[in-house]
């Protein structure tokens, strides 16, 4: 076990599901994927688990960056933080080949992620990996992230969802330093592994999506596709197409970045050949943010009626710096726009509102508590959340398989636990979507446990034997693809069990009522997967 399989198992076994998420009974569990530690493409994902202060249920948040790779090289399967710190000064935890040390870096207290990472690199050396929280995590706000440094040392690979940064803050931890210097990896030198790494890279490069579209346009290429399907969340999920979608498309962004001398492609993890990341630069060629992704382009773009990439990049950068989830914050601003606090399309106001988070004002606290809290405090019905977590950039009335994922994932509304957009299916037809989401939820649990990026799903679903070959070579096991899926099922059921003990029932596996009642233009469709069918998913 590694990654999500490990974090979820430990949570079910060791944590009182009824506990206060920011209290001493919760645990923060950091686990690299099972296969992490080599330059095998897309295999160095990191899982962080805890009871979520946002959803009140189990959470595994997942990111790229350098951390899983370095932890695995140090031979570390998991780090578990228990109890609660009574230290007034936030701790820095340093982990290297000699073990763990507790450091104090009072000069970064209250500071945000970019400044903190810079200071930490100065002190601990430029080669370390850093996990850090911003002011939002220190304030224990429910959308607070943990930021991980990427291959360039930028703290931009984000454990974004469900408030893992708040849990880290509640333990009194500001930063974790992973130093793998002087560590040797026998695995990486193994000729058989070397061969596999090469073969897998070739496989991914040979696929049109992972070999061409992602490297060229990043995840943002999805935007025009979802827009053409009529499922692009626009103006607080009130429309399925954005009339200015082209302005924030992957194609437009790649062109703009290229013309300004930014990077349209790079890898967030060692060895990754998909290289879906980018570096967005301003008109002077200066870096603004890395990486501007589809989910942010939609939730802070079309969802707010904003069509200017420079504005969205600034919003993204601010969120990264404060350490909050761009998706839940984008959804929160959409709710506030519906409440009349900002006009849709007013990017300056959106930036001003996000800056409230950094200032820690009451409004900033409301926003950084997520879209669900915004809806409560402002008395708004149209709040696109499930289990209090904001939906991703696919309107569930159109991309119905993702609607099933939002409703039934133990993690709350989240595309990454089964993104059915990758399937060649009629997304508008409710038939078969429970089955589609279920199978993908199971397989995604496998990928999250192994440490694979979900963008490898296409390759492995096309050639399951390849996954068997890799897993068996890395672990010495003899597992089949079906056995791996059985493991995935077990993990999902464990997560479900945790949530049951935290008080969740089938009635929490529902989209907000208005998605079933209010037709979405231009397809004029509602979410019409039946409740009874949703309830069969975990049978």
């Amino acid at each position: 076990m590694g990654g999500r399989g490990l974090t979820s198992s430990i949570l079910l076994d060791e944590v009182n599901a009824g506990c206060y998420p920011l209290g001493e009974e919760n645990k923060l569990i950091i686990a690299p994927g099972l296969l992490a530690g080599t330059t095998l493409s897309s295999s160095n994902r990191l899982s962080v688990g805890a009871k979520s202060p946002l959803t009140g249920g189990i959470k595994e948040s997942n990111s790229g960056g350098m951390i899983a790779y370095k932890l695995a090289r140090l031979g570390i399967k998991a780090i578990i933080f228990e109890g609660k710190s009574e230290q007034p000064i936030p701790l820095t935890i340093k982990i290297d080949k000699n073990g763990i040390t507790f450091e104090k870096d009072p000069e970064i207290k209250g500071h945000n992620c970019y400044y903190s990472a810079e200071k930490l690199f100065e002190k601990y050396g430029s080669k370390v990996g850093i996990m850090v929280i911003g002011s939002a995590g220190e304030r224990r706000l429910a959308t607070a992230c943990i930021n991980c440094t990427d291959t360039n040392g930028e703290p931009c690979r984000v454990l974004g969802r469900g408030g893992m940064g708040a849990v880290m803050g509640s333990k009194g931890i500001k930063a974790i330093i992973i130093d793998d210097k002087e560590v040797q990896s026998n695995l990486q030198k193994d000729p058989k592994i070397k061969e596999l790494i090469k073969k897998f890279a070739g496989e991914l490069r040979g696929n049109i999506v992972t070999g061409e579209f992602f490297p060229k346009y990043g995840t943002a290429r999805t935007l025009m596709i979802v827009n053409s399907l009529g499922g692009l969340p626009t103006r607080n999920f009130s429309l399925g197409t954005f009339e200015k979608a082209e302005n924030i498309s992957g194609e437009k962004m790649a062109e703009l970045i290229s013309s300004r001398g930014g990077k349209t492609t790079h890898n967030c993890m060692p060895g990754c050949v998909i290289r879906c990341s980018n570096t967005f630069v301003d008109k002077n060629g200066a870096k603004v943010v890395s990486s501007l992704e589809y989910e942010t382009l939609c939730l802070m773009g079309s969802n707010l009626g904003i069509d200017n990439l420079d504005d969205i990049a600034i919003l993204n950068k601010l969120c990264n710096d404060y350490g909050v989830d761009t998706m839940d914050i984008g959804a929160a601003l959409g709710v506030l726009a519906e409440a009349g606090i900002m006009e849709f399309g007013d990017a300056n106001k959106a930036i001003e509102l996000v800056k409230e988070i950094g200032k820690g004002t009451n409004l900033g606290r409301i926003i950084a508590s997520g879209a669900g809290t915004c809806g409560k405090v402002y008395g708004i019905e149209r709040v696109p959340v499930v289990k209090n977590q904001a939906m991703a950039a696919y309107d569930p009335r159109v991309i119905k398989g993702n609607g099933v994922t939002y409703a039934t994932s133990p993690m709350g509304a989240d595309h990454t636990y089964a993104n059915t957009i990758i399937l060649q299916i009629d997304h508008l037809d409710p038939k078969g979507k429970v089955e589609a989401s279920k199978n993908l939820q199971i397989f995604t649990a496998v990928l999250d446990t192994l440490g694979f990026c979900i963008f490898t799903a296409r390759a492995f679903l096309t050639k399951p034997s390849f996954l068997e070959e890799i897993v068996n070579a890395y672990t010495g096991w003899k597992v089949t693809f079906d056995e791996l899926n059985e493991m995935g099922k077990t993990i999902l059921l464990k997560e479900r069990k945790f949530n049951e003990k935290a008080g969740f029932t089938k009635f929490h596996d529902r989209l907000p009522g208005y998605f079933k009642r209010e037709p979405l233009k231009p397809n004029n469709v509602v979410f019409d997967v039946k409740d009874e069918e949703l309830d069969t998913i975990f049978n």
Copy 2:
């Protein structure tokens, strides 16, 4: 059926438990108690039911005042508001012997309860009964109340808990006028009923609590008793005794009111002989608020470390005027004090914070969303809520029967659904408290259905045959006390059923973990009624 029995039955039968509480699917149901409409003491309580925006579960909120009496005289069993108003101007609903009319009173839009009531009396006559919401209800905030006018025409009898004012606001209704002029009551003239009214008044007058303590000191007499038991919530439920308790005691208050020429006793409903209400006046003898009650004295007094009755009266008046629940707001301020937003004991700051509600600022919205939301937005663990509703003025670690009520009542933490303080039991001993709370929850459901004030419980539990005699005389039935209790059970199970469909499980029937973990001084006790025992209560 009447009162709570009726509101809860209609909710279970007609309302989708999963609906958005402030949306078109919810219903607001107003029902006088079954026996209302005569001057029988303490029998004119009003029930208002809806799915609660505060708890997300079923809610029956209950108050005295003139409304139930007048509705019953008009022969009205229930008023049900369905759907959602799209009217820009809040409606006034007028009900008299000719039926219902829809009026517009744009001049009270956005105004608070006292001003609005004054204007409405001017327009509709001084003899009508008024239900009105303040700015908090118009803003649809989760602790918003509906205020009912009392025997003096003051809008101070409050349907306080669970956000019924927000539901009324979501329906676009600002006020409801009940005009019973030219209505004759045959019941009131019936010699047998007249005799019963007299006999029951004598019974209540003969009891030391309802005949002496309540008329003399009001509910505030409870304060020194609970303080001496070590169960008086003090400084956000961190202590069980308040060193300055005497300054805010019923005895002290009665003395102060008397010395200033205020009223230490009067009745909120026609015919009530318990007369537990008072009119608190300032040092110049001018009215501040009616009635200053125990729960407010504690939650806005000892719970905030405030020991000045004048300050508490101002806090109470402000809450009444804006139309928010003094209990949830008091608990919210306690949480904010723990978050460092105010100092315990700083009454001026507390007043300033409550005024934020009236201004509708972001901080005001946070506060008026209740203690639970304050805890989330400020990352505070010690939040005394169950099902997101604030506890009443009895620390559950000491008054353990009330702890059982808080945990298991379908309504959330609320003493009025079974206040075991009235029982002659060892409150500190966990044994038998589930049974005690259960029996009282059942009997309270009976009283709430009949329209009796819970202060009649002592009289009826001592002399059950008296209750049978009254009910049978008023209804023509032939029910026994046991049969009434069976009805009470049925009502509770219906409420439980609604909550189950809204997603509640036994895991929601729990106090926050710190009540089980952190001993309360001076008794150094935790809440130690076992979860397994709590779970037997609805078997």
